[in-house]
Amino acid sequence: MQATSDEELIGRIASGDRLAMQVLFARHHVRVYRFVLRLVRDESLAEDLISEVFLDVWRQAGRFEGRSAVPTWLLAIARFKALTALRRKPDEELDDEAAAAIEDQSDDPEVALAKKDKSAVLRKCLEGLSAEHREIIDLVYYHEKSVEEVAAIVGIPENTVKTRMFYARKRLAELLKAAGIERGWP
């Protein structure tokens, strides 16, 4: 039996179809949640934000013009919500997060232990990237977005997408080197 496409679901949602909304949510909420969680680093906040993302879809489905694929549209809304939420966070919380990020990059006992496992170190270093670099790495590798789709989600030119990805990978290589893993690149 043929499944309903995302675009058809959006059409039905625009007509007030709650079951279509449930299916769209079931299909995409995990990826949207993970994208948001990697940005805000707060599970409770990430859950609140995905509710807001899909509520926006409920409200705006009638205005969806299909210029981008539905998953790309969802991530663009999610990104906007996440950045808005981060701007609302008190400065002291942001300072705590910045401190945590700095700690992540140091050769603490956890990292030292993880040196025995290259994969674990790589994941640790991925977590230590800045929000901007985490975002582009996730969009390309995990969410499997093309250059054009990343440009649409992040709102930057396509050449900037490629450059930002390069610098994110370069920063990752620096963190790996600091953690004792020399990859011979860049």
Partner: protein, 222 residues
């Protein structure tokens, strides 16, 4: 890209595309460019291996984040209930067209059976449910198999003709289930349990579902 400024621009450009090549999201033209370059450049091929390592660990890291709790969905649908219908759509609500589309998917015998057996309310409800299947997502909506971790436990359910779509959604959500197929014979639907529970636990959940006679007429594990 200062780090590779001593390399030829074409090679720099190819290297910048490696992450998308690994993810399989390049256009055919760019994919072929990258493949040609890799075939003639062992260092570039080694760098692609580094990219694949990063890709693998990024996927691992994201999937280890788990899934949101049911609270997110409950909050969403509570807000939708409170808000009512969305803003008027550009598209008109073509009820006749939707019913025609629904009927076209079934054999004449099925249609005749449905017409004889179902009330008007139940018929409309089935039409709605039929159009929102989530099994076998089409190309372009595919997620990694590990993005969701649903169980293989399924059940067959027939909803009460009096149950509204909102009640059905709340019912499925409360019991950790989702519609994956239907309607079949007698207007039944195939549902899947979203949590990987032991069989004995699934039986208990189904028993609890059966007790909600306002929403369920019949339910049995498959």
């Amino acid at each position: 890209m200062n780090a590779v400024s001593n390399e030829a621009p074409e090679r720099q450009e190819i290297e910048a595309l490696l992450p998308w090549h690994a993810a399989g999201t390049l256009s055919r033209r760019d994919r072929e460019r990258v493949e040609r370059a890799i075939a003639n450049d062992s260092d570039l091929a080694r760098r692609l291996m580094l990219v694949r390592e990063e890709q693998q660990e990024t996927i691992h890291l994201n999937e280890s984040l788990g899934v949101p709790s049911a609270r997110a969905m409950e909050k969403l649908f509570a807000a939708i209930e409170a808000e009512g219908a969305p803003a008027p759509a550009r598209r008109s609500f073509d009820l006749v067209g939707r019913i025609s589309g629904f009927l076209s998917g079934f054999s004449p015998r099925t249609v005749a059976y449905a017409a004889a057996a179902a009330t008007v309310a139940f018929f409309l409800q089935s039409a709605v449910l039929t159009t929102v299947l989530i099994k076998d997502q089409p190309e372009g909506t595919t997620e990694l198999a590990s993005a969701h971790t649903p169980s293989n436990a399924h059940a067959v359910v027939r909803f009460s003709p009096q149950a509204t779509s909102s009640e059905i959604i709340s019912f499925l959500l409360a019991h950790g289930a989702e519609v994956v197929d239907g309607p079949g014979k007698n207007g039944s639907f195939n549902i899947r349990f979203t949590n990987d529970l032991p069989k004995a636990e699934i039986v208990k959940v189904v028993q609890r579902m059966q007790s909600e006679t306002k929403v369920v007429e019949f339910i049995a594990t498959k």
